[in-house]
């Protein structure tokens, strides 16, 4: 499900990874996309700043697909 917030999360992943949104295939894991653990932390901190919701350490992780992470963030910030 793509909502305005999902679009924003996707932009944050792209911005922190210095990629374009088009380069981020939601079916791939972060390892496959080449995002490291600090990229995930950077996104978590940006979500915390924009939505006021803390993302616990480890909730975003390497083996996750981007789609799974977007769904998680969508539920977390709803």
């Amino acid at each position: 499900m793509d909502t305005a917030t999902t679009t924003r999360f996707l932009e944050l992943f792209a911005e922190k990874a210095e990629l374009t949104v088009d380069e981020l295939d939601p079916g791939l894991t972060f390892d496959e996309l080449g995002l490291d653990s600090l990229h995930l932390m950077e996104v978590a901190l940006a979500v915390q700043k924009e939505y006021g919701v803390a993302i616990p350490e480890g909730d975003l992780h390497h083996e996750q697909t981007l789609r799974e992470a977007l769904d998680y963030l969508d539920a977390r910030t709803r």
Binding site: S37, L38, M41, L45, A46, Q48
Partner: protein, 328 residues
Amino acid sequence: MGRAAVLTGIGSAVPDRVVTNDAFAARMDTSDEWIRSRTGIRERRLVEPGTATSDLAVLAGSRAMKSAGVADVDAVVLATTTPDHPCPATAPTVASRLGLGAVAAYDVAAVCSGFLYGLASAAGMIALGTAERVLVIAAEAFSTIIDPDDRATAPIFGDGAGAVVLAAGEQSQRGALLGFDLGSDGALADLIIVPAGGSRMKTGASPSDHFFTMRGQAVFKHAVLRMAESSRTVLARTGWPVDAVDWLVGHQANVRILRAVADQLGLPREKAFVNVERFGNTAAASIPIALDDAVAAGLVNPGDRVLLTAFGGGASWGAVTLEWPDPA
């Protein structure tokens, strides 16, 4: 408001030995690309065996006094995580070697926040009238507590020293320390720790207990959030909106932490001064080394509004504001 502590001189000193990322890649399972992408670090300066923290502190201190145009001070405050000895403090040795006579001299231990805690301590002595002029030095032979074979920490840290002279003056003067915020959270003590060697565990079960360990990802998160919050607090106390800041000179731990702090504050990333690529993380010494470097490079100029912030072991953190002074 009583009298102010005014920054009147600055100096720094780093060891001659440059160690590149490739030297670590040759020794352990890491690479130049991995180190650069995670930390921004390209190289660092490391002491030769036998060189101690006081050796670097004396050099930086004498350069700061020369920059301030002074030959004596009333006190020496030394921020360090790596004193020459567990006992006594290193500051008296440094004061003595600088030929400063029987002045007050003591160490401050706040790991990477040590320089800011040292500034606050020195400013307090000046406000009380205990001292007219204080030499604040932050110096680390940090590599002496690092396991040279630990790929998680060995490539990150560097050695070096930076120092400033603070003198009694007016709050309206350029160089006056305008605002302070300091904090700590001992519940996070295990984030950044050397487990053995202190009274809790004099001798470790294994040699590695005597080396520095760090929970990197958790440190990253807490560092970003605490430095941003402390910065907001000190800006409010100073009466500066975020866009009044000309330079954010943060603790040089990791370029990605510095960028994230700028992002949290809504400050353009270009305003975050970065030199971690050349010196690595020099713990307490990083802020005065960065300031001296930024001034020498012509980036930080007289009248610039400068925000300093740090986070480190303890956990401890802080932030300080000042307008950069005119040269002595």
